[in-house]
């Protein structure tokens, strides 16, 4: 079936199997930034934003994102023009193998979009759905705190290659999909 969505700000049509997860759909379309770690929603390596909310894309049926705005790590900055969150991860040496990092960065973006000035407890709680085995989390927590500061100092939301930030969907009921911990 065909899936119509806004992908990193652009209209996109993805052809997906009815049973496919959003992760499968994205990766088959070449968006390999989101990683497959568990297929059960436990590790968070596949985290992307759906209508602004962090979602574990491995347990999100692709069909439920029809019409949604999906953001992946590919939609942030480029290597020579990093988004402030990405720059904070680089500058804080908040990465080693990197497999969890795209998910961590999207989780961080979801957090900071909703809460621009989180305290350490809020950061720890927000990131608890995303695992990392390399860093002991210390540098990642520092990076998120640093990213919040950078974003607060930036008038524009991001130097993210000029892509518009998708509007958050306003709806009375709960957003389709949403957080699944």
């Amino acid at each position: 079936m065909e899936l119509e969505l806004t992908l990193n700000g652009d209209d996109a049509t993805l052809t997906v199997a009815r049973s496919a997860s959003l992760l499968d759909a994205l990766r088959r379309a070449g968006y390999t930034g989101a990683k497959r770690g568990c297929d059960t929603g436990d590790c968070g390596f596949c985290t992307v934003l759906v209508d602004g909310d962090p979602v574990k894309s491995c347990v999100q049926p692709a069909v439920r994102t029809d019409g949604a705005a999906v953001e992946t790590v590919e939609g942030l900055g480029s290597q020579d023009d990093l988004h402030p969150i990405q720059a904070a991860f680089v500058d804080n040496a908040a990465l080693q193998c990197g497999f969890c990092i795209p998910g961590m960065i999207m989780r961080t973006k979801g957090l900071l979009d909703a809460n621009p000035d989180p305290d350490e407890g809020e950061i720890r709680e927000s990131l608890s759905g995303n695992l990392c085995r390399c860093t002991g989390y210390e540098r990642i927590l520092d990076a998120v705190d640093d990213a919040a500061g950078r974003l607060a100092r930036t008038d524009d939301v991001a130097a993210d290659g000029g892509r518009p930030v998708p509007e958050r969907r306003s709806c009375a009921g709960p957003a389709p999909g949403g957080e699944q911990e």
Binding site: K35, D39, T40, C43, E74, Q79, L82, C97, E125, C132
Partner: protein
Amino acid sequence: MSRTDDPDDGRAGELPPDEAERDAGADAADDPAGGEYATVASREEKVDARSIVTGDARYTADYAGTVPDLAEAAVLRSAVAHGVVTEIDTSRAAEMDGVYAVITPDSPSVPDRPYTSAGQSYPEPSPWDLHVLRRRVRYVGDPIAAVAAEDTATARAAVRRIDVTYEEFDAVFSPEAAMADGAPRLHDADEVENVQPGADYERNVEARVAGEIGDVDAAFEAAAARPDRTVVETEWETPHQSHCVPEPHTTIARRDEDDRYHLVTSTQVPWHVRRQLAHLFDVPVRDVRVTKPRIGAGFGGKQSMVIEPIALALALAADRPVKLEATRTEEFHAMRLRRPSRVTVRSVVTDEGDLEALDVSVVTNSGAYGPHGMTASGAVGKKPLPLYTHTPNVRLEATAVHTNLPVAGAMRGYGAPQGHFAIEGHMDEVARELGLDPIEFRSRNLIGEGDLDVASKILDPGEGHGRRIRSCGLDECIDRGKDAIGWNDVDQPEEDHLHRACGVALAMQGSGIPGDELGAAHIRMNEDGSFVLQTGAVDIGPGADTAMAQIAAEVLGARPADIVVQPSDTDVSPFDYGAYASSTTYVTGQAVKKAAEDAREQLFGVAARLLDEPADALTARGGAVRSERTGESVSLEAIGYESIYGDDVRAQVMGQASHSTDESPPPFGAQFVDVTVDERTGEFEIHDLVFAVDCGVAINPDLAAGQVTGAMHMSYELAVGGGLSFDDEGAPEVCGFRDYGMPRTDDQPPLTPILVETHEPTGPFGAKSVAEVPTNAVPPALSNAIRRAVGVRVSDLPITPEKVNAALDTQ
């Protein structure tokens, strides 16, 4: 015994001449900038950081879209713990739409010779007891058949349609049961090749190693008759631990256009995989190519060749490329794990606190097969014992036993975490018995700079006296760790039922395997003054590529950004034993340094012509070569253009070197824990975990500190969480992160790394290793802290409130 009583007759005192020369040469060459390293030992951005944060970095699975006609695969695994497959019916699977191949042990493309999954040097110190696919199954998870299909969903659906009939055998799950009379036998000795010392397959013993220094029995006999001697005996137990490796084991295997086998695979040991695949598939080594792309960490889990042969056999059967990606369930029970252990420690100590004898007995549970069994079991004792190298009488016996459980393998620390839990827990008990401060007692017996590490050679008594300790910052680690944790000024909580205390445990490791490593490097200069560096170093995440770039840049006077580091590829890169045993920075780093020095000599030749100065008056720094005599300089870029396009002698600057060594300088560390325990419930709260480490000169302190916190996290998980459990039939009960309980951001205590720098004269720019040693000591430090807080000892991991509470109840 005092430190002047040197047990070494032959190697005491000065360095041997070759080493002395090497040190002198290194000192001069290390210091091109006149006292400060320009790039080594400084913060540098990780070379792959930007590709990682943008999602551009490609791991094996991310290449799937670039391989035409790629099939995806799934594996059928044994549902019984012990038995033999009497019938496999694959017809329903084979006839499914989209299925390209179904293989079983009888398929022509499936090798039938035994091998070991251990990615070790040749010949492997592990038994060849595995087959790619098996009819005789020995644990729930043994691979029986596999499918290649148009996508993973189809492959998995096909696997579910394979009908298997088993004849089941009795199974054993503990080493004690496996060694008992009448226990079911797992392996037939006649069918195992490369059998290891001490093997007794009649009793399911895979290997047994033992060694002794002095006369331990005599020391215990003498102690029994002397009131001023104390004998202490303790027993310790550790469970399975999962690597929880982020990227599942993933392989893309194909036969290429030249009819060679090409694998893109998530491995720590490309060269061992190449050799072992060549052996299995009976082709020359040169006809196998192994490419290591970005790796989503390894921690030893990817030092094993587990899925590659299945993927390759499927690719041959399906006649198309095949991707095989382990599921998370498979990661938890069908890849490799840290081996459970039971360790008994007995010691004799004088009233003054001098250790007279240590007797250590280790039994580990290898599970169904034997990769790393002998070596990791021996390491349980060999790694921690050198801390107390002055002990005159030491015995170690280590036995690796087969059971019908998943297969143990290599894991960060490699036996040392199990051993440190036992030895460092024991040392606290001895100190307590004698009424001594645990740190003062340890310090009295501790190894130090200039000492000979006798104990490390305990299992090889014929090969001399062990390694000389040329750098040791253990005292400073203890001092700075004590200060950071607040050892001397712990405030007690106001509530009477809460008790707070600090615990300590010391740690050591090695840097590579002495006499059994090779790293090689090749570096060539581009015309713009940049360099391409090829090493076999396998960066699995922590930053080896960055460290290698810094080492080369330091020698060449270049910026690290001017060094392009190529990922390991057996067709392209020089040889390397692989990323294990804390070897990369120490061994391969030295090869890179030597190769860069070789290149520097050549570019000095070009610069000498351009500057009209003798080569020996030149230095390389700041992107240029300069004459110290005249102050004239010429840029690396000018040298690059001259070497390739110049009017004079045209020759590309290309340096190369290999490095192997008998040295394996240990990094040292001191782990501290600050804990409050509730004596009513056994619940405890860890306020801080501090690990102070002496890793020599830290190449890139940022990356080194990151490795320390990551390893502490893993050690903390071993101490309080994780662990696998199995039902009565041997089926795994933990198949995912949620069940396993890996620490998350909201339950991970703060981690404080402290880098204590020394200078290791045999290492590149003074470096030794740092990746493993911080994995070793949270369990004993926490157990010791709880013992000091409320007086009870938890001697089996994980340490849980329930266990503390149970111990308090029986106090």
